[in-house]
Subunit: 325 residues, 2 copies
Amino acid sequence: MDTEQLTQKILDGDRRALARAITLVESGRKDHRAKAGELLSELAKHKRQSLRIGLSGTPGVGKSTFIESFGMMLTGLGLRVAVLAVDPSSARSGGSILGDKTRMERLSRDKNAFIRPSPSQSHLGGVARRSREAVALCEAAGFDVVLIETVGVGQSETVVAEMSDLFLLLLAPAGGDELQGVKRGIMEMADLILVNKADGPLKPVATRTCADYSGALRLLRKRPQDPEGFPKALMVSAVEEHGLDNAWEEMQALTAWRKENGHWDRRRADQACYWFDQEVRQALLARLETPEAKAQMAELAGTVSEGGKSPGEAARIMLKALGAA
Amino acid sequence: MDTEQLTQKILDGDRRALARAITLVESGRKDHRAKAGELLSELAKHKRQSLRIGLSGTPGVGKSTFIESFGMMLTGLGLRVAVLAVDPSSARSGGSILGDKTRMERLSRDKNAFIRPSPSQSHLGGVARRSREAVALCEAAGFDVVLIETVGVGQSETVVAEMSDLFLLLLAPAGGDELQGVKRGIMEMADLILVNKADGPLKPVATRTCADYSGALRLLRKRPQDPEGFPKALMVSAVEEHGLDNAWEEMQALTAWRKENGHWDRRRADQACYWFDQEVRQALLARLETPEAKAQMAELAGTVSEGGKSPGEAARIMLKALGAA
């Protein structure tokens, strides 16, 4: 299929064409990269926008159940929903977080939903670019909502936040000794904190957890892109499917406010600049990604770590080896 | 003075030699860089360590008063104290946050204290390397404590945290409508939150502020390098000079625990690796620091921001211009 045909099919919302295009942007082959670039430039002209919702939460908080229930609610409202995953760990583990579609059995059979497992990747830079391009393809294919899930390995939340309009943090109820706490830096990215499992015997704990996080959010500096009362902590039950409609209303209210006040466009523009900058930097840093460079970096890091060389000395040796000194 | 002489004088704690060496590491001249590298390698062999305390706080929280009172308390205990500043904004503003020593009049006259204003700098990468090297020089000069102050512009807190053993966040008491909140990401770097101005009519507000932050800290995931009860929020009054001894005891307790449990050495080793990695990366990215490259990056970012080009397209143009495509 040539680029023109593929462009048209994606714009028509053809799911097989979309899947094929995502495979294309995931490829590292030079001719594939060129074709992907051409395709993305063509599609960008149509300036279609989805609501891109980033979602983070550690294993055990019920993320799959939440995505399934929330996704089904959205398709029930007549919306088309795409689900993507950013998982820099999948190369290592050999698996992928959305690889097993049975995790979201109902949603995967819904004709208004599109679920794409995360590809195997070798480093976060690559994951970021490919994920961002996959999101752009889903937007061009006319999805109303694109859910971008992350497992929260390393910097993956930052990556997801930088390609999302809204960022949700899903938590499980916990108190006292069980209090696990939130990974550092994440609470401060969230537009909404959703305390899941607010059902059955956990409901009182969820109420308390929700109040605690509401209090903590108030201590953070107000961001210009937040109306009064945001970021907010809410209770949901993905299993009992309640609180989801309320959460969706809050997301819509926040989105409407940001659009009205120019923050939506500004954030989109800032994100585009961020990714432009990142792509340039990553290309310049690509010399560190060869197996030889990685091995030498690791060896020098070992020496530095033992105090055998200062960071500056080791850096000079490495740069000389790269022919960049 | 040759490197050997300078090395010896610094090891002897000669303040003029130290000041001169800091000027040397701040220089961008190639021969100065080479000499600085040699000097730092020589000094590193002596493996002298200070307690490096990073300190952040927005203007108005009483940071200078705190540094003066805390510094005087330390010198009163017979300790030698160096104060450095990391201020990436000073190039722009033309000033420097510690430029005016009258801000810390008593401390600047204390023979056991050494205060160094922040240099004018052009970008954070440069600021980071030079500051880190200035810290290393102070350590070699035998200071017991090195206080590293930051104004909190951009990423400067991260930079300071990565060259500190302890990171303190200084806050002013605030409640209700005045609540300014903490810059995102900063609370989660803190080992101690110090609520200053716990004196006079502000004392009840300070007590409440301190309790609020204690609550918020408990919601964060426990870090392996923290013993039970840390990070902690405490009240101090820099003006009335109380609470400072308690804060110092907590810092010592935390430090002792980390040393005993291997976290001190591990953190030092991790930081050295971090800076090695950063130096290599910054050197590879130096091509973006020329006036021409900056101008072209800015122009392309403008186009991307207006939607005239996709991030990927713009990146390819830039990389071609850099001869790196």
